[in-house]
Symmetry: C2
Subunit: 270 residues, 2 copies
Amino acid sequence: MSVELVSVGNELLIGKTVNTNANWLAKRITTLGLKVTRITTVGDDVDEISKIIKECLSRRPKFIIVTGGLGPTFDDKTLEGIAKALNMELKVNDEALRMIEEKYKRYVKEGRIESFELTPYRVKMATLPEGGTPIPNPVGTAPGVRIKSGETEIIALPGVPEEMKAIFDEHIAPLVRKASKNAVFYEVSLLCIGIVESDLAPLIDKVMHDNPYVYVKSHPKAAEAIPKIEIHLSTTSDDVEKAKARISSTIMQLTELIEKKGGNVRPIKT
Amino acid sequence: MSVELVSVGNELLIGKTVNTNANWLAKRITTLGLKVTRITTVGDDVDEISKIIKECLSRRPKFIIVTGGLGPTFDDKTLEGIAKALNMELKVNDEALRMIEEKYKRYVKEGRIESFELTPYRVKMATLPEGGTPIPNPVGTAPGVRIKSGETEIIALPGVPEEMKAIFDEHIAPLVRKASKNAVFYEVSLLCIGIVESDLAPLIDKVMHDNPYVYVKSHPKAAEAIPKIEIHLSTTSDDVEKAKARISSTIMQLTELIEKKGGNVRPIKT
């Protein structure tokens, strides 16, 4: 069961902003037991958003999680793009409008703004593809949105990290955990010192052959006089003890092979 | 003239690694005057790599820059994926093999390894799609690779950031600059304090209408008692003075509009 992430925002394409949202979501979803198969960044453009949503849907993931483009400005085009991809009309959603009104009423109470009207810019945040359901935003103004298309659920979240994380943890994480049937992802990192990656490669081949459920990947560190390579071991299982046992026996075998080659290994925190 | 970035690596899909390579490349390419239109991350899988290369080619960008998956281990599959997408054979490239041999000879001289053989794992790094040209790697072992397909140039770079950056700056940046005909990208960030984004939105609409070559995007900061919004202004031009003048007059108009609404504005470094 796979998940695709779509990040919307010109700031990502011009290199102004590092895509920490995709990283955070990928880690969270992996930990919750599902597999992220692709991450795509597109600009603030209705056609680009519509195209990537259609492409994702053609690969039939369980979830498509879109971040960014839900706000009040002209370049917040995610919902228009999704509506276009799904051939749906955009309509003001009463529940979303109520959520937004409540927010601005609170802002007035808190003295952040003097008064408010439901300007077109504010109504825009409540204008969803028909069939979409708003998700409350505990931190900011624009609600998230859920829309089913076939077996896939499209989830649109705001791009502001605090808002995205709050909505995900409160409303989306339980859906992901349910879909993964509580699978466990378990990972350990080792630091291998003293042998180069091309000498480590056959040892990794050997332990992966002998431990078919464990994925082992080497990450060479920056060039140094003494070669240092991070080795990352991971597995997904329905049982945490099974996962730990698999990783432990893989580490034992790998450590022995590396020491025979004159290198040494120590655990590291990542 | 557009550029697509493709990042290859399971570590990105499990959220172990933040995709700083794509961010660095996007910033560099934007500064050099070309437009990055899409960034895609896929896993260490020949079919996934082959599919994304074909998809990128169908959109006919000037460059496809792929990072990751060029090393000696089993999961370094980028060249195999590109060969599959282009329907090309993989062949040992003599020049690439010579580059790799020289590296290992130097490692022996420097005492990093005692001796070396051209094992299959090392020859793998010199095994390119036919028609590919190796690019020297001044930092690490695996060469980069250039391959033409129609009007598009595919450039494969290692995933280790220091290696990727060194090869890009030395060998790829001049190609990008030439393709952009020395276009200039100019950007300024302002901090807008005291008005909420939905009140800023119509002001941005107005200045973008009056300054058609300038792109203005608002980035709300985390929820605070007093709303703070970063406003990013950017333009691309063939002349730096023209670019600066455009941005300056946009800032003047925007500042006036924001102050009328009771907010204020100051320049910030990003």
